[in-house]
């Protein structure tokens, strides 16, 4: 009787301890990545290759999603603002929503599900097929050769993708507001420029995306490296990457927003 009552608590305790343990392990892992980064930054070719897979191949999804998010913002924003007679502020609304929140957060979520999951699956499969062991036996550190280039590629790609997402979003808002609804283009841009601040909006948004990039890529390479080397282990690690990334992005976003704005 006591056992059945206590078991959910025990389960909770186990989950908490496990989570803390993994957090510590991930932190140590980050330390190892930074320690062995010299080689991957010196042999830039390896990192460039990973930027191609993580960043360049994500361009399409980022461009299309950014455009549509901007267009939705334009439509919804216009509907709401015109009710208060301030449709002129549409440019400011679109730009501020994107720069401060939607750009970094949505780009990071897309990046986690497109590139983060791919990284986890790739590293997990390399582990399952003993490729990481083979490297170790050949006296090559897999953290330096496999993990660090992917980590840096993710950290580089994320702000670029977020900035592109913002630009596409603003463009989408412009398409709806100016081209479709017919607001004045001059008012659209000047309202935007009057309300957007370089430091507090543009730079802070980029800092956010950089932090998200570090977090998502670290989660992705860690889950891959830590995956159980079986087919089901790799698939559940991939799922964990997407889920954990999403939760961490949203939680970090709250913390960063609280600090920044």
């Amino acid at each position: 009787m006591f056992n059945t009552l206590a078991s959910p608590f025990r389960k909770l305790g186990e989950l908490t301890i496990n989570a803390v343990w993994r957090l510590g392990f991930a932190t140590r892992f980050l330390g190892a990545i930074l320690m062995y980064s010299g080689q991957s930054l010196m042999r830039l070719q390896m990192t460039i290759r990973e930027v191609y897979f993580a960043g360049v191949l994500s361009l399409i999804i980022i461009v299309v999603s950014g455009l549509f998010v901007g267009m939705v913002l334009g439509l919804q924003g216009y509907n709401t603002l015109s009710r208060f007679g301030s449709a002129d502020a549409l440019g400011a609304l679109v730009a501020l929503s994107l720069l401060r929140e939607l750009g970094p957060v949505l780009a990071a979520l897309l990046f986690a599900s497109r590139s983060g999951s791919a990284m986890t699956a790739e590293i997990g499969l390399m582990k399952a097929t003993e490729q990481l062991d083979a490297m170790r036996v050949m006296a090559v550190n897999p953290i330096a050769r496999v993990v660090a280039p992917r980590f840096w590629a993710g950290v580089i790609s994320m702000p670029v993708l977020a900035a592109l997402f913002n630009v596409m979003g603003v463009f989408g808002g412009y398409l709806i507001g100016v081209v479709m609804i017919g607001l004045d283009a001059g008012t659209f841009w000047s309202q935007m420029q009057a309300n957007v601040d370089l430091h507090s909006d543009v730079i802070n948004g980029l800092i956010k995306s950089l932090v998200f990039g570090i977090a998502v890529t670290l989660i992705a390479v860690f889950e891959g490296y830590d995956a159980t080397p079986t087919a089901s282990g790799v698939s559940s690690a991939t799922t964990r990457t997407v889920v954990t990334s999403a939760l961490v992005i949203l939680a970090l976003d709250f913390v960063l927003t609280a600090f920044m704005f």
Partner: protein, 269 residues
């Protein structure tokens, strides 16, 4: 202490947590010889290779390789140790994102500063040694199992190792590929004078090529000897293993707690 045996394991014990894998293993590999470690699945054979390559450290005992104790090496020494060593993994473990040529060139690019055209020549040489010249531009996914194993072998010998470790080199190969790999292993051992340890459960093929055999069962050395003595041994255990009989000292069935009759009637109830 004599440096005569290239590898010597002294009273080595190893376990993962509570589970004891190896206990009190003593094993010697003379310089230039090809030694096989045989045993059923899960008997701790692969762990022995991992001990020799320094991927795991023993709980107790010493692992001497070429006069140095692997068990007490720090990371730098371990990496130096591994540079003199080649290892063929069970399924080859080729890097799936690199071409055949880049796979074979991998250890050369990582550990030498050779110019690119010399690396290309070396890769061609190593590939022709395993009979696969002309496959340079293929990706590992385009290779058959036997070819992948041979490419992996070419990669393992890229740096002309003093010691070769083979982890189940015959698993999952058709008889012809198996024969080719066995032949290559023997020829490498003789031509280059490499010491070699081979973990396998393919008894017949191994007995044809090796110089000495250790049998591992339940984490201990159960028997040892040259192929000749093993073949003609009277030990019922060895007989069963060498001939692959289903009945004998080693039971085919998992030791269940209940009898089959109990399980069946429980289902009927």
């Amino acid at each position: 202490m004599s440096h005569d045996p290239y590898i010597e394991l002294r009273n080595v014990s190893f376990g993962y947590g509570e589970r004891q894998i190896l206990s009190n293993i003593n094993l010697r590999v003379p310089r230039g010889q090809l030694v096989a470690i045989m045993g059923g699945s899960g008997s701790g054979k692969t762990t022995l290779l991992r001990l020799i390559s320094g991927q795991v450290r023993p709980d107790s005992g010493e692992v001497w390789v070429d006069g140095k104790n692997v068990a007490t090496m720090n990371t730098r020494e371990l990496y130096a140790h591994r540079r003199k060593m080649g290892m063929l993994f069970q399924f080859g473990a080729l890097f799936t994102d690199l071409s055949v040529a880049d796979n074979v060139a991998f250890p050369l690019r990582e550990h030498t500063a050779l110019p690119e055209d010399m690396i290309r020549d070396l890769v061609t040489l190593k590939l022709s040694a395993v009979g696969l010249r002309g496959t340079q531009t293929l990706m590992p996914a385009e290779l058959s199992g036997g070819m992948a194993r041979r490419v992996a072998l070419a990669r393992a010998i890229a740096l002309d190792p003093e010691l070769m470790l083979y982890d189940e080199p015959f698993t999952g190969l058709d008889p012809i590929s198996l024969g080719v790999i066995a032949h290559l292993i023997k020829r490498l051992n003789q031509a280059l004078g490499t010491s070699a340890v081979m973990v396998t459960h393919d008894v017949q093929k191994s007995l044809e090529i090796v110089d000495y055999v250790y049998f591992v069962a339940h984490g201990e050395i159960a028997a040892e000897g040259s192929p000749e003595t093993v073949r003609h041994s009277d030990s019922p255990w060895l007989k069963q293993f060498v001939h692959g009989d289903p009945d004998g000292p080693v039971h085919f069935a998992y030791p269940a707690d209940t009898s089959l009759a109990d399980d069946l009637s429980a289902g009927a109830r």
